[in-house]
């Protein structure tokens, strides 16, 4: 199917560009003074984190519109976005500890940002579990939409959690009210890698969307064949 191929291409391009970003990051961007090389993981960690949260917002928005229009495409998009969001969330949850070990001296602590990110991941897992636990497509879509909207409303609480708890994790640097405080070339590299992650997000979502569309077609065909 065409869409699936398009999605694969976008993903492939994204992955190549990501490699490029790291060449740039390692070779041409200054080494952060206090953290050394470990800071390089920043370019993986932060864009992934931003997309992990944005994907949930997009799930929620698609869900709201789904409840009004009952358009199955929106449901399919929400499912695809949740799967990709779960992957990005997993990336954050692996890069974070890898970064944390040299900086904090521990893989994991139970501070608010880390815990809430873990729960964002579990929210994705729950969303996908719920989808697999309901077999009837219309019911599945409605239940998933309800959970998706609730999940969307949960994201601001997670994002702001650093302000509410004493935490080891850095305060927002880029996505904060006021001006970003980041040296120019780091900011540039960061912006590029955010762009690449956007590409990856789109590529993955297009693929998952196409796959679930194909599966539905197959189910429908099986039904006709049987009757």
């Amino acid at each position: 199917m065409k869409m699936l191929r398009v999605g694969r291409w976008i993903t492939a391009i994204g992955l190549v560009l990501l490699a490029g970003i790291y060449v740039r990051a390692l070779a041409y961007t200054p080494i952060e003074a206090s953290q050394g090389l470990a800071q390089k993981i920043f370019y993986l960690h932060v864009p992934a984190a931003i997309w992990a949260e944005s994907a949930m917002i997009l799930v929620g928005l698609a869900s709201i519109f789904y409840l009004f229009t009952k358009d199955p495409r929106l449901d399919r998009f929400a499912a695809a976005s949740a799967e990709v969001g779960a992957v990005f969330c997993a990336v954050v949850l692996t890069t974070g500890p890898i970064w944390g070990k040299p900086i904090w001296g521990t893989w994991w602590t139970w501070d608010a940002r880390l815990t809430f990110t873990l729960f964002l991941f579990l929210l994705y897992v729950g969303y996908l579990l719920l989808r697999s636990a309901v077999t009837e497509p219309a019911t599945r879509a409605r239940f998933a939409a309800v959970l998706g909207i609730c999940g969307m409303c949960e994201v601001p609480f997670i994002h702001l959690s650093v302000y509410m708890f004493p935490t080891l994790h850095p305060m927002p640097i880029v996505l904060q009210p006021g001006r970003p405080k980041l040296p120019g070339s780091m900011l540039e590299t960061w912006a590029l890698s955010l762009g690449v992650f956007t590409l990856l997000y789109v590529g993955f979502v297009v693929q998952r969307y196409a796959l679930s569309y194909l599966r539905e077609q197959l189910e429908a065909a099986g039904e006709v064949g049987h009757a």
Partner: protein, 228 residues
């Protein structure tokens, strides 16, 4: 639909639920003993020399309430499944939101009963002072309970019709319970440690915002969980 109707029907649903619960005369007794046992488990399941009481009290209080709430939530829709009474409710010419509100009221009464029994027991078993901070403590408990019971009632309406509802419900629910729960634990900890009230006001505000967002959301979204 006019809103007095909404409330009247919600109350009818809640009153019926509470009557069903009340019919089994063992209910209150069981809940009481249940709380006692959970507290005892926590006490005897830890090495008494290693950890001090006051530090653990808030966590144990809230873990107890959480589990009790999950049990209660599961029951709420189980009652309706027994003889397909849920279909009857869905056929009735009432606003679907009133089914949700009714279930919410019944669950709140149920969980509040547990908490009413749990707090004095906790004070007794862990030898912590609660009387001086009673009002703010009640405020914390009430706000946190409303938040997670509201979301929980919404989700239990969905999971009850899936297999493994008992396991799926906590999976879906706990990400939403963690924020109010952690605020509540921190606030309770401050209160029991005798810190000034102003330190907990921030948590109370957060709890109130959370409650507001999710109660409104739940009332709006509930119809989507029951329309077939």
């Amino acid at each position: 639909m006019r809103s007095p109707d909404l409330l009247r029907h919600a109350w009818a649903v809640a009153a019926k639920d509470l009557l069903v619960e009340f019919r089994s005369r063992t209910a209150i007794l069981s809940v009481a003993v249940f709380v006692v046992l959970v507290l005892v488990v926590f006490n005897s399941a830890r090495d008494p020399t290693a950890v001090s009481n006051v530090d653990l009290a808030p966590s144990i209080l809230w873990v107890t309430f959480t589990f009790a709430a999950i049990l209660a939530l599961n029951r709420a829709f189980q009652i309706e499944l027994e003889n397909q009474a849920l279909e009857g409710l869905l056929l009735a010419p009432i606003d679907r939101s009133s089914i949700y509100l009714g279930k919410l009221i019944a669950n709140l009464v149920f969980v509040a009963t547990i908490e009413l029994i749990g707090v004095p027991l906790l004070a007794l078993f862990f030898n912590v002072q609660v009387l001086p901070f009673l009002l703010p403590l009640i405020a914390v408990i009430a706000l946190a309970t409303v938040g997670f019971v509201a979301v929980g009632t919404l989700f239990s309406a969905m999971t009850v019709r899936t297999r493994f509802a008992e396991l799926l419900l906590p999976v879906l629910l706990l990400p939403f319970m963690i924020p109010p729960l952690s605020w509540a634990v921190l606030a309770t900890g401050r209160l029991l440690a005798g810190r000034p009230l102003s330190e907990t006001l921030g948590w109370l505000n957060m709890l109130a915002v959370y409650d507001f967002v999710f109660v409104v959301l739940a009332v709006l979204l509930f119809p989507a969980t029951v329309n077939e």
